[in-house]
Structure formats: structure tokens, C-alpha cells
């Protein structure tokens, strides 16, 4: 198999990103406290979410606001499959269709969850990819609301806003770093593949690329399903580490957060997705600390709840006003490091 020049550079760039991800993971393992480990783990989960978002948004330039719903679907599907029967009898006593009478091993559960997420993403995607710009965005918003109201309504399966507990803790920081690295390779690979190139071309000029024989609708659907699968992975990783999930985290707040990450870094590149995730994850921790009203050089600061939300919104607004393509713009990491040939 011969690779094009873009694909070769893609491999180099993905390796660089992988090195950074592994580096942060190793540092965290040696130096972080238990609490910090959890924060870093959730940063990696968000990284996978943002990467999943980038696959669709970055290549097709349609805005997707339903990503947290797909993460939720993956998380719930995996959680319901993997939880031991004894625990499920307590957590979900009224579950229909014998959902509380079986349990699978983690790998099988993950596979089942991915299949479910993929099928749902495919069915929804058929509708979404036919719409244009704004219509598609609002339709994804509708999906988010539909999925959330089903989570809230079917309390016998999803427990709604209460916690679904008893999920065995399968994942550690090491596993999520490995998963994130794999996802980086997949996402970057898609961007540089023939499909990714055609899809990006169609985002730049839909009519022109269609005239060149690009099947825009089919390519968007492929990107959408791939995005759904990556988001499903993020959901599984989330459930497998925390051991308990509820419907609340898979709604608007999480959508805002991950979208801000992607926008800040730059949705057109994988590097931008990685940069944005880590910059905002760590930035927010500092702001959360300020929110609690700490004492800095003798000055007792007041408690300001909501500051992190204001900052998150400002990041989006300022990025859009000053640099709409995000910090990275169209440049991937290897283009910064290597000399331009």
C-alpha cells in the first residue's frame, strides 16, 4: 500500500500527538494525586469526545450539537451490559425485556454498545446528512432533546437523573491513554484518507465538488457514523471508569464544554482538537479554583459561582470574533514542527 504525501505527514503528525498524549499520561501517573487523576481521566474522555466531534464537524463543517447524546447512548448501553446481574437486580429492579437478567464481559459489552451506537447514529444520520447548514444544526439539537427526554422518561432502564450504579471499574488512566492514541490515529487517518479529502473539499465548495463526482451525502453519512462510534467509545470509557452514570452529564452543559474545546483549538485539524481540549480542561480547573473564593496574596476573593460558564462562553465569542478558524487554523502539528517542503 502506498501512501500519499498527505497521508505520510498524517502518520508523522499522529505520532507526535500520540507522544504528547502518552507524555501527559505518564506525568500524571507519577505526580498526580487521586483527585487530579480523576480530572485528567475526564480530560481524556473529553478529548475522545472532541475528536469524535472533529471527525464530522471539522471535515463536513456542519455543526453538530447532539454529540453528548451519542456519548450517553454508548455509556448506557455498555453499563447495562456489563453490570453484574446481582447489582442490576438492585439498580434496575423493573427493567423490561430481561435487561437485568444477563451480564456480559467488558469487551463484549463494549462491542454491543458500539454496535448499538453505530446503528442509532446511522439511522439518525440518514436524516441529518440530507439537510443543509442551519437546518442540520437545529435538527441535531432536536436529537439531543429527544435522547435526553427518553433517558429521563424510561427510569426503569436508565434511572433518569438518579445514578445507575454498580458498573465494574474496568478502565484505568493507562487504558484511556491507549484508547485516546488509537482514536487520534483513526481520526487523523480519516482526515487524510480519500474520503476525508473529498469531504473537506465539499465543505469548501459543495457545488464544485459535486460536479467532480463527490457524493456529498454519502461521505457525510460515513463521517457521521464514524463520529458516532468514537463518541460511543468515549461514553464506554466514561462508564467503565466512574462506575456510575446518570442522564444529567449528557446534556447541554457538556455540549457547550466540548464544543468550546473544539472551537478554541480549531475544528479543522486534529491537532486543534487536542490543543483545545487540554487548554480548556486545565484553564477551567484554574477558574473553578477561583470560583470557590480562594485567598491570593492576602486578598480574600469572593465566591463567584458561574464564572467558569462566563469564561467558557467568552472563549467561544472571542475565538469567533478574533480567529474563527481556531488557534491552529488549517495547520496540523507536523506543519509547525517540520520545515515546509
Amino acid at each position: 500500500m502506498t501512501l500519499t504525501r498527505g497521508q505520510k505527514r498524517g502518520v508523522v503528525g499522529a505520532c507526535m500527538l500520540a507522544a504528547i498524549l502518552i507524555g501527559i499520561g505518564v506525568l500524571a501517573t507519577y505526580f498526580a494525586s487521586r483527585y487530579q487523576l480523576r480530572l485528567i481521566y475526564s480530560a481524556y474522555v473529553n478529548l475522545i469526545v472532541v475528536l469524535g466531534l472533529q471527525v464530522f464537524m471539522g471535515n463536513s463543517r456542519l455543526t453538530n450539537l447532539s454529540h453528548s447524546a451519542f456519548m450517553g447512548i454508548g455509556a448506557y448501553a455498555a453499563a447495562i451490559c456489563v453490570t453484574p446481574v446481582a447489582m442490576k437486580q438492585i439498580a434496575l429492579p423493573d427493567a423490561p425485556w430481561g435487561l437485568n437478567a444477563f451480564a456480559l464481559d467488558p469487551v463484549m459489552s463494549a462491542v454491543v454498545a458500539l454496535v448499538i451506537t453505530g446503528v442509532i447514529a446511522f439511522l439518525v444520520g440518514i436524516f441529518i446528512v440530507r439537510m443543509t447548514g442551519t437546518g442540520a444544526t437545529i435538527a441535531t439539537l432536536a436529537i439531543l432533546v429527544i435522547v435526553h427526554s427518553i433517558f429521563l422518561y424510561r427510569t426503569d432502564i436508565f434511572k433518569g437523573n438518579q445514578a445507575l450504579f454498580g458498573i465494574p471499574q474496568v478502565f484505568s488512566l493507562t487504558s484511556i491513554v491507549i484508547l485516546a492514541v488509537i482514536v487520534v490515529f483513526i481520526v487523523r487517518g480519516f482526515r487524510e484518507s480519500a474520503w476525508g479529502v473529498m469531504l473537506r473539499a465539499s465543505a469548501d465548495d459543495e457545488t464544485g465538488s459535486a460536479a467532480m463526482g463527490v457524493n456529498v451525502v454519502r461521505l457525510r453519512l460515513i463521517a457521521w457514523v464514524l463520529s458516532g462510534l468514537v463518541l460511543g467509545c468515549a461514553g464506554i470509557a466514561y462508564a467503565y471508569f466512574l462506575g456510575t452514570i446518570s442522564a444529567r452529564p449528557f446534556y447541554f452543559n457538556h455540549v457547550f464544554l466540548t464544543l468550546a474545546m473544539l472551537i478554541f483549538g480549531g475544528m479543522r485539524t486534529v491537532t486543534g482538537a487536542v490543543l483545545g481540549t487540554f487548554a480548556i480542561s486545565f484553564g477551567l480547573e484554574v477558574i473553578r479554583w477561583l470560583e470557590t473564593g480562594p485567598v491570593i496574596i492576602g486578598i480574600d476573593l469572593p465566591e463567584v459561582l458561574g464564572l467558569s460558564g462566563v469564561m467558557l462562553g467568552l472563549v467561544i465569542v472571542l475565538t469567533m470574533a478574533l480567529r474563527p478558524v481556531g488557534v491552529m487554523g488549517d495547520r496540523e502539528i507536523e506543519e509547525l514542527v517540520l520545515r515546509n517542503k
Partner: protein, 298 residues
């Protein structure tokens, strides 16, 4: 028979509320291609103004109503100046995400400076009195709502058809460069679009407040979510589409409430959005979407 008439009136009044909001979104979208996510926060500003007026100035409901509408209008115009001017000629996605950011900032400012909890305003309850009309029990609020949307539509049509600025606004939705070449100032057209949008948000705010009686940081979120859907169904950027979409959504929502068995009540939104999705499969760009000419892209 009476029951049916009652439900039809319910559907009309719900539809009128959505149509008001959807018109506010559509008028901005048709001029500058911006999906204004912050519309809900403009409504919330109206609600908070009511709280402030009722507590500090006067209990007179007409002054409160005037204050709320004025505040919403000013907020909308101010947002255009501060936040949306830099993205004026940017692509729709940039504008959409900016508005998204503005919405988050405002919501959290309410949270930060006012209160995360709902605050009650009771001075508008008098709008919601029961009225018997031809043997049907309805609320006066529903009549006011239907009349308001009727007046608004007539006013808008007159404005757009009869005045130079109205003509400029209609032309702006087709070709903004041409409008500027004829000597109309772009600033004025944009400001006017946001002014009308804010005015409609203020009117909607009164009805929502009269019904709910309290305001919280996420006050405008759900109504505007519905208005977005109404816009999409009707065809984004089309003013008749926004009205049609609003009424259609009202009808579907009331229909769902009437026909769904009690135990599925919690799934109402899911069903409503599901039906909307099916409409979009039939017409992906909305029912009355303006024709797009893809060939003349430069």
C-alpha cells in the same frame, strides 16, 4: 365539540407564542444569516426587568410591560453592537457559534449576578383570566396572544412592503452588497433587524411571564428551542415559514397532549421533535424555504 374547539384554541395560542419567537429569529436570520441562540436570553432580560420594576419602581402592570419590552429591545440592539458586529459577514457557522457563546455568557451572568433560583413576579396574572366565549371556556391570555400575533404580522407586512427600510430589509435577504450600493447604510438595516427581533422577544416575554409567573437564568431556553424547530420546519429565513412553523408546532404539541395516553406524557417532547424530523425528511430545507441558487457561488 366544545372540547375540540377548546383544544383548537389552545393550539392557536401555543402556536401564536412560538410564531412570535420564530419571527424574531427569522427576521435576523433573513438579513444577516445569523442563527441567534441568544434570543432566549433577550427574553430572560425582559423577565428580569419585570422583577426589577415590580420590586423597585411600581406595581403598575402597564409600566412593567412597557419596561420589559423596552429592555428586551435594547438588549437585542446592544448585542448586535457588541457581539455580532465582528461576525457580520462571516459564514453562518461562525455566527451560530458566536450566538451560542453569547447565550452561555448571559445565562451565567444571570446566575452570577442575580440568582440561580426562580424569582416570582405576580403582577401579570390579571392577564390570565377565564373568559366564556360562545359557550367555550378559554383564557383571556389566549385571546391576547392570538390578537398580538395577528397585529404583529400585519404590522410587519406593512413595514416590509411600504417603507424604504422595509424594502431594504427584504432586499438584504437576497443581496446585501446591492443594498449597500444603493446608499442604504448597512448599520441601520442590521440594527433594525435586531430591534424588531428584540421587540418580538419582549412581547413573547410578557405572555410567557403571564403564564409562568417566575423567571430564572434558563427562562428563555425552552421556548426558543421550540422556536428554532418552528423556524427549521417552516424554512429558515422565510418569515411566512416562521409563522407557519410556529402554528404547526403548536398544533402538533397540543395534538400530542390530547392524543397521547397519560403515561407517555413525559415523552411529549420526544414525539413532537420526532414528528418534526419526519417533516424534514419530506422537505429537508423546511416547508417554505427560500430557493437557494447553488450555481452562482463564486
Amino acid at each position: 365539540m366544545e372540547y375540540a374547539a377548546q383544544q383548537i384554541i389552545n393550539a392557536l395560542s401555543f402556536g401564536a407564542e412560538y410564531a412570535l419567537l420564530a419571527l424574531g429569529l427569522a427576521i435576523v436570520f433573513s438579513v444577516m444569516g445569523l442563527v441567534n441562540f441568544a434570543h432566549g436570553e433577550v427574553i430572560a432580560v425582559g423577565g428580569y426587568t419585570m422583577v426589577a420594576f415590580a420590586a423597585l419602581v411600581t406595581e403598575n402592570p402597564w409600566i412593567i410591560i412597557f419596561g420589559a419590552v423596552a429592555a428586551a429591545t435594547l438588549t437585542s440592539v446592544a448585542l448586535e453592537r457588541v457581539a455580532f458586529r465582528p461576525v457580520r459577514y462571516a459564514d453562518p457557522t461562525t455566527g451560530l457559534l458566536t450566538a451560542f457563546g453569547v447565550s452561555i455568557v448571559l445565562q451565567n451572568l444571570f446566575l452570577l449576578f442575580i440568582s440561580p433560583r426562580p424569582i416570582a413576579v405576580t403582577s401579570l396574572y390579571f392577564l390570565d383570566a377565564p373568559v366564556t366565549l360562545f359557550g367555550i371556556q378559554i383564557s383571556s391570555l389566549q385571546i391576547f396572544e392570538s390578537i398580538t400575533i395577528f397585529v404583529v404580522i400585519i404590522g410587519l407586512v406593512l413595514f416590509l412592503q411600504r417603507t424604504t427600510l422595509g424594502l431594504a430589509m427584504r432586499a438584504a435577504s437576497l443581496d446585501f452588497e446591492m443594498v449597500r450600493l444603493t446608499g442604504i447604510r448597512a448599520d441601520r438595516v442590521f440594527a433594525l433587524a435586531f430591534l424588531i427581533s428584540g421587540l418580538l422577544a419582549g412581547l413573547a416575554c410578557i405572555f410567557i411571564m403571564a403564564r409562568r409567573g417566575s423567571v430564572d437564568p434558563h427562562f428563555g431556553f425552552n421556548p426558543v428551542l421550540k422556536a428554532f424547530v418552528a423556524c427549521v420546519v417552516g424554512g429558515f429565513g422565510s418569515l411566512p415559514g416562521a409563522v407557519l412553523g410556529g402554528f404547526l408546532l403548536g398544533a402538533i404539541e397540543v395534538g400530542m397532549l390530547v392524543m397521547l395516553p397519560q403515561e407517555y406524557g413525559g415523552l411529549k417532547d420526544a414525539f413532537v421533535f420526532g414528528i418534526i424530523a419526519l417533516v424534514l425528511v419530506w422537505r429537508p430545507d423546511g416547508i417554505l424555504s427560500p430557493a437557494t441558487e447553488k450555481g452562482d457561488k463564486l
